[in-house]
Amino acid sequence: QQQVKQSPQSLIVQKGGISIINCAYENTAFDYFPWYQQFPGKGPALLIAIRPDVSEKKEGRFTISFNKSAKQFSLHIMDSQPGDSATYFCAAGPHGGSQGNLIFGKGTKLSVKP
């Protein structure tokens, strides 16, 4: 119940296309859902996050869609660029506060072809 399942494991998208990464969780105690972006040799960087009181959050080309009833959330990258090529992790934090303990998915390696 503590797992966050992420798919696909890898994704290849053409420049200008839409990249979609999906995550699912089981524990309804989660109430904070961030996405992290990691480039080789770097630590993960917070990209965008959502809480269950909204179904969608958009920041520039990045959008999180959240389906509370299905316990799923996804990251959409519009107009994907080669510079977006990285590994993306979804995560979940528990209600009442994570105190640094986020449950991460296994990551999706995105390659955007020019």
Binding site: G43, A49, G93, Q99, G107
Partner: protein, 115 residues
């Protein structure tokens, strides 16, 4: 966001030895977090380091294997002791922001290979 410096960035170690990883933050923080990123796996919290008290370890991680020091509000070390090839991972230092430290910021990590 905090600037987190971690060293070494990578190391190759022999089985049975120990490695100490250092983490320096550019601002004072109450909690620092150590994560492990195994190849092809998700990130897993090892322990939380509080200044002036013992570190709090997550299930599956013990102090004898991963001793942690937190001498002040900007610095922490994680030691990986008596290493085996199974310890080969990326080790990440992290600090949190927000009411419950939910927004995590990570250092660049230490890539450890154990032969």
């Amino acid at each position: 966001s905090a600037v987190i410096s971690q060293k070494p960035s990578r190391d190759i170690c022999q089985r049975g030895t120990s490695l100490t990883i250092q983490c320096q933050v550019d601002s004072q923080v109450t909690m620092m977090f150590w994560y492990r990123q195994q190849p092809g796996q998700s990130l897993t919290l090892i322990a939380t380091a509080n200044q002036g008290s013992e570190a709090t370890y997550e299930s599956g991680f013990v102090i004898d294997k991963f001793p942690i020091s937190r001498p002040n509000l900007t610095f922490s070390t994680l030691t990986v002791s008596n290493m085996s090839p199974e310890d080969s991972s990326i080790y990440l230092c992290s600090v949190g922001q927000g009411p419950t430290n939910e927004k995590l910021f990570f250092g660049s990590g230490t890539q450890l290979s154990v032969l």
